[in-house]
Symmetry: C2
Subunit: 242 residues, 2 copies
């Protein structure tokens, strides 16, 4: 399996034809997309193309946002935007505001992000329906697509990229019921394939190089319509760790 950052992706703006842009960048990086390739694309690139950008100056914060903003030492207008993207606040601690987004992702600032956006007072929001965005990109590009974002984890330091939208690529590799070389039946081995690919792709892309996509070639997968990042979310009542 090869994982390489895609170079030559131009500045993406609202209305940019993202799939054309990515195909061209892959081509200029010396590759041609094949049906069994997987393109990992950052949330940031997708959000920009879809116009999911808010300007702080356009927002009037509610009294609630002002009060939360004071507790976490953030701009109240930013907090207002974050709370509009949130189903609930999961944790307030120090300057950290962890929310559950309307999609069900649990992440810092509900995925609202100031980095890698043009304009000092602009922030990106997560795509409205990242699985739909990924399916459309996959159809247009004729390959697998994973839209990634960067998440903190429980119990371990450091961030990992994970899948927030999936097109064609299975979310999981399911080894349950298969037997190991000694004849033991594997009982609970459902690998989070899309997240593992996202994590490695995030590493290949880095954070500062302006490379919002990575090409994954040589991973053994079968295309499926029955896939989504939403299906990877584990409802709290089924969570074994909480």
């Amino acid at each position: 399996m090869q994982i390489v950052a895609v170079q030559h992706v131009p500045e993406i703006r609202p209305g940019t034809n993202l799939s054309e842009c990515l195909r061209e960048a892959v081509h200029r990086s010396g590759w041609n997309l094949q049906p069994r390739d997987i393109l990992a694309v950052t949330q940031k690139a997708v959000s920009k193309a879809e116009g999911r950008i808010s300007r702080l100056g356009d927002v009037v914060p509610s009294a609630y946002s002002v009060s939360i903003a004071r507790r976490v030492s953030k701009d109240p207008r930013l907090v207002e935007i974050i709370l509009r993207e949130s189903r609930r606040i999961v944790r307030l601690r120090g300057e950290v505001l962890i929310c559950e987004t309307h999609h069900g992702f649990i992440c810092a600032n509900a995925g609202v992000d100031e980095s890698n956006v043009e304009g000092a007072e602009s922030v990106t929001l997560l795509p409205k329906d990242p699985d739909r965005s990924a399916r459309i990109l996959a159809r247009e590009l004729g390959c697998g697509v994973i839209i990634t974002d960067t998440f903190g984890r429980v119990w371990r330091d450091g961030l990992l990229d994970a899948a927030i939208g999936i097109g064609r690529v299975p979310a999981f590799l399911d080894f349950r019921g298969q037997t190991d070389p000694y004849g033991h039946r594997l009982r609970v081995t459902l690998l989070a394939a899309a997240d593992a690919l996202s994590a490695a792709a995030g590493l290949a892309m880095g954070k500062t190089a302006g490379t919002p996509a990575a090409l994954i070639r040589g991973f053994d997968w079968e295309a499926t319509d029955d896939t989504s990042a939403a299906a990877m979310l584990r409802p709290a009542e089924r969570d074994l760790f909480l």
Copy 2:
């Protein structure tokens, strides 16, 4: 970056010279280890070579283990072994027993595992000091080494491989203080590099093929003595999500 499963690894038994075994297998897979390569090796392979195997028949369960075993429908002797490897029980739910190991890893059954072990009544324990094991392997092999194990996560379904021992390879890629192409300073971007590599390596290895190692080539890293998987563990009092 390329990630390929290492074929031709023979059965590993207590006393097997693991580094020799792995070097030979890499060679027979058509590669030669280079200083900038990283070899991901499963906990299972390391534990077997180090003789970290327990036989259920050798264990007399305590009354406490018998009572826990009844609650989770497990063999009391297995529970006895699990609890000996544990600092505390984190969660008991259904048939799932999640423990914090003496190293500080939080995982199902304290990492005690029945799969891919010779002998019906044998289980592997995690290596005693996986960072030390990884450092020794890295020195003997002359490359980076990550010892991996498979973990469940909070909030998301599916398992991911993560680093439990690291030799030479940095645990994190630190982008903090760097600026994005728009001049924004990145504030909290510390990527869990060793975990991302572990996750992708776990995918390349699969679970049933008897391939307990993967070669990672082309990842851009600097060798360091100041690295460990232990440093990736986040103490509960610093945990933003709990």
